[in-house]
């Protein structure tokens, strides 16, 4: 995974957190959406970034929204997508 990709995803999440009045810091395994920290509209913003910047196909029947709940899970998703 390229460093700039990691940074882009991290920055996107940080911006969303700040936009929702939360501190920008988060750890890699921290639940972002399931914990109620971020709402579904925030998930939408993140999904659109993953679609437009990384070509993630959200209409894939195997895709589950839980796959973007943590930074680590997003990284796994991007790796799987890059290998496919």
């Amino acid at each position: 995974m390229q460093a700039e990709n990691l940074k882009l995803v991290r920055d996107t999440i940080s911006n969303i957190l700040v936009d929702r009045g939360q501190p920008p810091e988060f750890n890699d395994t921290e639940s972002l959406f399931d914990s109620g920290k971020l709402d579904s509209l925030a998930a939408v913003n993140l999904l659109m970034t993953l679609e437009s910047e990384f070509g993630i196909d959200l209409s894939d029947p195997d895709f589950e929204i839980t796959q973007i709940d943590t930074f680590a899970a997003i990284m796994d998703l991007l790796r799987e997508n890059a290998m496919a």
Binding site: S35, G36, S40, L41, V44, L47, L58, S59, D69
Partner: protein
């Protein structure tokens, strides 16, 4: 005085008589190492469970039989810490075997229908219910295995849509086939089972594809988890697994959080009961919402001020009662070892409609997001971001919202008739429509306010708009059909002086 002085100074005995200090100690007890350590001891576990069950027993919103099941499950899980997962699954399965339906009316209907099923009808209705529950478990197992193996690909790829189509077809059968036909009996029983567990099964199937394989017995325990006293699931096994306490210390912290929330539920419920029922309604004589609405509809006094007072009090009452119910439910889940987020978090402080919607009934909002919003967002209008969000919101807040109620009431179509059942949903359709427009406006057009905009524009106005919107919208939030839509509109208009 230095920081060191503050840390080493012995705790003053006066602290124990200071209500604010006591409140602070209570709220932070799950972060206090000594309390957490004590909560892991046998005495601590016993005291925590005793206090928790005592608190829960003071809430009339939990029925006695369900309270007994909760108590039995939590005590067993505490006595058998190594078998906690098995206890929770087993009690969930037992709960479903004994009480599979959503409504008491459905048990009555089942009792009437069961003797018509032929040879099996000779069995008493309760035994018949358990036999049917076992058969239904078999069907759910087939769904789970199909979801793992993708044997029937359409069913594995679009499980919710497939279940919805199956449920619709079965409901249609119950309406079209004569009551004395064997097909009616089988179809109605299946509809009754499916309608009460539809979204629970949906979440189970979601969990099947998640990392960390769960065994089928555990999954079956979530067709009706032991805490579920409503048809809104607190998400599913995959979600709960993320919040499960992994060691004794984490379990103690989770239980302490559960106890705190249960006590908060008790405070909310009894505050509402005393302030609203005893003082506002009984002593001050303010009419109850439905009684006032009916009175206005038949030409009773329609004072604008009285109308607004009734709406405002009804709104606060509902927030308080729903808050108490959902907190009690989440508290039970926490006592079972899952440190899940609260189901309602300070909704009255919301500054936007979508924020309120997310904070008011978090798990219902999550259900609509999981089954309607995200699946639509993933597939439709990908090249038009605003339309994409608006349409996904429409599918969740309007279509999903109404479908949820229709699915829950599916067995009623055969009993009350199709037209009569549909009539009941007119008001809820207006409610869902208003909610949808409000959320879409909030998501796409509501300007963001900042502290520098001033006290009035930041602290007051947005909240007045949000609370006013939901207070007015609740006039239509009903699918019982007891009060016709026209009467609700008449009352709504009377609030603005239009009679």
């Amino acid at each position: 005085m230095t920081a060191v002085d503050l840390q080493t100074r012995p705790e003053s005995p006066a602290r124990w008589f200071n209500p604010l200090a006591l409140r602070q100690s209570w709220l932070s007890m799950d972060k206090n190492d000594r309390v957490v350590e004590w909560a892991q001891s046998k005495l601590g576990i016993a005291v925590l469970h005793g206090a928790f069950l005592l608190a829960l027993a003071t809430l009339p919103v939990i029925r006695a039989k369900h309270m007994a099941l909760i108590a039995m499950t939590l005590v067993l899980a505490a006595l058998l810490p190594g078998r906690r997962g098995m206890v929770l699954a087993g009690m969930g399965i037992l709960f479903f075997l004994l009480r599979p339906f959503r409504s008491e009316f459905h048990y009555t209907n089942f009792g009437e229908i069961w003797p018509e099923i032929g040879v099996l009808g000779a069995m008493n209705a309760q035994a018949g219910l358990m036999a049917c529950s076992l058969v239904f478990f078999g069907l759910v197992l087939l769904l789970i295995e199909n979801h793992r193996r993708k044997a029937v690909s359409v069913l594995a790829e679009r499980p919710i849509l497939s279940l919805l189509i199956a449920g619709t077809a079965l409901t249609a059968l119950t309406v079209l086939v004569p009551r004395d036909h064997g097909l009616f009996t089988v179809a109605w029983i299946l509809v009754a089972y499916l309608s009460s567990s539809f979204f629970f099964i949906g979440y189970i199937l979601m969990a099947v594809r998640q990392k960390g394989r769960m065994d089928n017995t555990t999954l079956l325990g979530y067709v009706r988890p032991f805490w579920a006293n409503t048809v809104v699931p607190i998400k599913g096994p995959g979600y709960l697994a993320k919040f499960e306490a992994k060691d004794a210390a984490a379990l103690a912290v989770t239980r302490l959080k559960g106890l705190k929330l249960a006590v908060w539920a008790v405070i909310l419920f009894w505050t509402g009961e005393i302030v609203f029922n005893q003082v506002v309604h009984s002593t001050l004589g303010l009419p109850h919402f439905e009684a006032h609405l009916k009175a206005v509809a038949v030409g009773g006094p329609a004072s604008v001020a009285l109308g607004w007072a009734v709406v405002a009090i009804y709104f606060l009452e509902r927030v308080l009662v729903f808050g108490a119910v959902i907190h009690a439910l989440v508290a039970v889940v926490r006592m079972a070892g899952f440190a899940i987020p609260r189901g309602m978090v300070k909704p009255l402080g919301s500054r936007t409609i979508s924020e309120y919607w997310g904070k008011y009934l978090f798990y219902f909002k999550e259900l609509l997001s999981d089954f309607f919003f995200f699946p639509t967002f993933q597939r439709c209008f990908k090249k038009h971001p605003r339309l994409r969000i608006a349409f996904a919101t429409f599918m969740a807040a309007f279509v999903g919202n109404i479908l949820f109620d229709v699915i829950c009431d599916a067995p009623v179509f055969a009993i009350d008739g199709f037209a009569a059942t549909i009539d009941n949903f007119y008001s809820y359709t207006v409610y869902a429509g208003g909610l949808t427009v409000g959320i879409i406006w909030s998501q796409l057009f509501q300007g963001k306010v900042r502290p520098e905009d001033g006290f009035l524009r930041y602290q007051v106005l947005p909240r007045v708009i949000v609370l006013g919107f939901f207070a007015l919208l609740q006039i239509f939030d009903d699918s019982s059909g007891v009060i016709p839509l026209g009467d609700r509109f008449a009352f709504f208009a009377s609030l603005f002086g239009v009679n």
